[in-house]
Amino acid sequence: MKIGAKGIAISVVATILGGVVLLMALGSWKTVSEKVPMKFSSGEFAGIANPADIRGSYSFADVERNFAVTADILAAAFALDVTVKPARDYLAKDLEALYGEVADGAGEVGTDSLKWFVALYTGLPFTPAEDTYVPRTVIEVLRDSGKIADADTLARLEVRSIEPLAPGKVPETVVTHVESITDRSIKGNTTYADVISWGVTQQEIEAILGVPLKSRTENIRSHLLANNLEFSVIKAKLQALVDSLAP
């Protein structure tokens, strides 16, 4: 049996693009992680989530879901301003954007710092990189919660600590959203409060979402992602409602 260009073209497109479309229809096409870190495979912590596997894309809500530490404690430890955005919405990689290189370039506050704090707070083993630093507030939070077990750990933290952020500092990726009076289109940075201010009621929003709305100030896109809801689908329904109420 011979095959030519048309046959190969159809087969390749059908196999690869067709396969992807089929997987999407079956709900098996996942291009983002489930945000579940790997677990310790042996020893006394076997079966417990390993802080070493926290990724930069994890939000503090993801960390809260996997480890016994709340998003508010994480925000307090890293001196993050929760009036800018809720503690749950901060990402591990925001730390790098906010602090970045410290101690004259000798170290860095970033995802590894978060791993270190989570490990110390939950009593799990983790060895930070040599250049991992933490803000002083990490030590304060650990000390106040009675989580620093020994003098050696405290001494290591003291050596690798820096001044915390001044209140109000925002990571570059976070856009403080100012509602436009004329533009009523739902975008990636629109909050539920914006939509409510355009005349949609909370009940109407919840009817579209199918889940309760806990915080009106929450960014719609982040909230939908956290609840495994399709932004484009919900956005279209909300936008139709907003448009129908336009003056």
Binding site: A9, V12, V20, L23, V32, S232
Partner: protein, 284 residues
């Protein structure tokens, strides 16, 4: 006759453009989504999520821990499966028809052909070239082992493909830009230099040429030994001496076939059986 011959490569070009545009759109949409902008009809995903090679490098971690290497997701493993399926049927069609990095080099090569005419793609001495062709297996082993050990995408810092589609994001390492620049310059002298000498995924898929159902076959009875197939091959394979092309470098591009370069009908084809059988039956 002439129109038919160009048609084969036009169909391949259309498929190459389709996949290049899809990958570029998905990549741009992902970058925009991170900035809070959503494109209509396009779902963004990181380049790692839609790279089938990501599925290969995460296999060890998936089997041993049940998790994925950083930045790799389920989609990459599915794509790996789909590409393997097409490879089992036709060999590395992914390289010749789908891979945007391969297409990009090929398009740059057209400029090289204009500049150097017949000298294009003949600059590397055959003895050196023969050895360099196995370099990509060294890269493959290094990438797979290092990714398994570190659980990080070690190759992304050197990957010209990642640099090509993310050059504007600030996420590309200097080494990535250097690799991309080098590939671009070399493409003006050698056809598909990255595919030939360094691509770890091409190395793996190339082994599919030993197993593919549809094989590139030459009819030794009707062949007039004009070597048009050898000249047309972008991977410098000597098609004119083989009855069946099992070379690990063949990218199933069809340039050597009777639908393209070969002047004799039904002499070089993608087929499931020996072409001499057809000639013998015709003779009877």
């Amino acid at each position: 006759m002439k129109r038919k011959k160009t048609g084969t490569q036009r169909i391949r070009l259309a498929v190459q453009i389709l996949f290049f545009v899809v990958v570029a759109l998905v990549s741009v949409a992902h970058t925009l989504e991170e900035q809070g902008v959503t494109l209509p009809f396009v779902q963004g995903a990181s380049l790692h999520a839609i790279c089938p090679f990501g599925g290969v490098v995460t296999l060890y971690r998936l089997v041993t821990d049940g998790t994925y290497v950083q930045k790799i997701h389920e989609s990459a493993v599915w794509l790996m499966g789909l590409v393997f399926l097409s490879t089992l049927a036709f060999g590395p069609v992914f390289c010749g028809w789908v891979c945007p990095m391969g297409s990009f080099q090929e398009w740059l090569g057209k400029l090289g052909k204009k500049l150097f005419k017949r000298r294009y793609n003949t600059f590397v001495p055959p003895t050196v070239d023969r050895i360099l062709r196995y370099l990509r297996y060294v890269v493959l082993i290094w990438v797979v082992v290092m990714t398994a050990v570190t659980a990080k995408l070690v190759f992304s810092n050197y990957d010209p493909y990642y640099a090509l589609f993310n050059f504007y994001t600030g996420e590309v390492a200097i080494t990535g830009y250097v690799a991309l620049g080098l590939v671009m310059v070399l493409s003006l002298f050698v056809e598909r230099p990255f595919c030939k000498y360094a691509c770890p995924y091409g190395a793996l898929l190339g082994l599919g040429n030993l197993l593919r159902v549809f094989k590139l076959r030459r009819n030794t009875i009707t062949c007039i030994d004009c070597k048009a197939c050898d000249t047309a091959c972008p991977m410098n394979i000597t098609v004119s001496t083989a009855a069946v092309v099992n070379d690990h470098q063949c990218i199933s591009c069809l340039k050597c076939t009777s639908d393209s370069a070969c002047p004799i009908p039904s002499t070089v084809e993608f087929n499931t059986h020996r072409l001499e059988q057809d000639s013998q039956e015709v003779a009877k």
